[in-house]
Symmetry: C2
Subunit: 344 residues, 2 copies
Amino acid sequence: MSQPRCVDDRITLKYGAGGGAMRALIEQIFAPGFGAVPGGVGLAEMDDGAAIPIGDRWLVITTDAHVVQPVTFPGGDIGRLAVCGTVNDLAMMGATEPLALTCAAILEDGFPRAELERIWASIRLACDEAGTTIVTGDTKVMRHGELDRIVLTTTGVGLTSRVVTDRGLAPGDVILVTGTMGDHGLAILATRTELALDTTLASDTAPINGLVRRALAAGGPGVVAMKDPTRGGLASALHEMADKSGVGIVLDERAVPIRDEARAIGELLGIDPLVVANEGKAVIGVRREVAGAVLEALRAHPLGRAAAIVGACVAERPGSVIVDTGFGRRLLVEAEGELQPRIC
Amino acid sequence: MSQPRCVDDRITLKYGAGGGAMRALIEQIFAPGFGAVPGGVGLAEMDDGAAIPIGDRWLVITTDAHVVQPVTFPGGDIGRLAVCGTVNDLAMMGATEPLALTCAAILEDGFPRAELERIWASIRLACDEAGTTIVTGDTKVMRHGELDRIVLTTTGVGLTSRVVTDRGLAPGDVILVTGTMGDHGLAILATRTELALDTTLASDTAPINGLVRRALAAGGPGVVAMKDPTRGGLASALHEMADKSGVGIVLDERAVPIRDEARAIGELLGIDPLVVANEGKAVIGVRREVAGAVLEALRAHPLGRAAAIVGACVAERPGSVIVDTGFGRRLLVEAEGELQPRIC
């Protein structure tokens, strides 16, 4: 990210993977020409969403296209994923009470009505959990061969009296995660392998706006940065936060909560749980003096039982993430390339 | 619409065509379980978007997935279409000053960078014309065979102090269109035919929020209903407005402005210009006493030169659209089935 590469002549799978290639695409092609949002957060900030001042509050807005394959997976389906992804992006900006969502569905000709009904039941349930609703949508149908199954694009809006960005870290700040890392990505990958892995690992897809509300209440202005570690996992989230904040982040590897099943699948597939997507977790940066209170608040919530302090910010090596293994230190590298298309 | 059919076991192309099948899909599968928006407009209303009360105003929000094929067509491309479609949906609800848009792009692996840059230049230009900006987005890449080329989903938000719905018509009201009918749909269809039609017909894709602002200023509370005649064309728009308002609409066929080129292509392809999509037009219902002032205001705007009064509302046959041909009367039938997938 600190050395943006030049976008290739063709947009390949790695540009959708949430790492440096995608950021270069946004910086070089999508963002230029769209001005800053005065007093708010716009496209150039490449945060989890945008924030537009309205009176004495901000309207937070965020959008996500969901292309996950398989459509139904252990722990969720594309409908639950769409709602949670959007609700969580709003929460990451401080808008923990989502005002409303929109949902545009693109279906392959011949998509079964029964499956669509199951997906919509899942959408309703996730909306109920998050305390929000779908207020408008769109439907398109494409021919077989033009689209594989179903794509859902959800957009969410929420109001907040304080915007939290992903760039508020300073040396001395503490990094927390709200739970185990890698569950979603590895659960999806496990369904795809020909080994037909016999595992109980399930996606963590969940709306965490209620959990984040607790953290904000406990930490107040001491909560200085938030990001959800989706595509690219904890590694990409920490890299972005470090780079944008101009700090180094030292990650205590042994403190990062990872399920045994996730570790096992990761080892089998040769994939680090720190570089795969989570869909019900947050990375939260806090001032040291509120770290204990925020951790306690997180652990008191059903979705935050495994929350942990996993790192700290330093002035050295701004933009870098250094892993402290307990035996030594190494740089944490972001996933690159086509590790896992259609994971979310 | 007055007799909703049962959704089939498989969702086929007609369910994305904007007619009765799509409305049945929304009514039977998408909308149930999502409550009304208190004091506003929600999913069940199936309007051009939703309206959520915020203080003494409404936040209007609308979303659209764009799948048009070919991606670039006479008069525009998928980028311009996406921005205009969303800006116009906001305007149809009364929000003629779009606060911001979001754009989620899904690309086929290998999509040319140069083409993406052209599309984004077009998006920027359309945003400038409409006086808005893109504030956040998302990017996904799907493999060849999983997605054909590119899909853009745009969402827009705007504030308004008065919401105009598509159901405010009463007997005696007058129906206007802001310009020629059928240009977009027939221009797209002309590019697809093997006859390689030699025509100068171009899509009308344009942001009409400025035009609509003029109409609202001229007609005040006398502007009682608006809808943009996109998928399904004027026929579907009038049917929805008639049905939701509980009035009959008598359409003066000879008063509907249609370009000679559109009429010619329509005759060649056997397609009525009244059932194909427009992307820079509005249908506006007004109280009779303001019809003249609204018409004058529309015609004074570059995008409204061909505006016309095309019909009137009656108490008889609520939900029906009756065409007065000058020689007699017939019912206007909505397009049904797979007339034109991927037209917008």
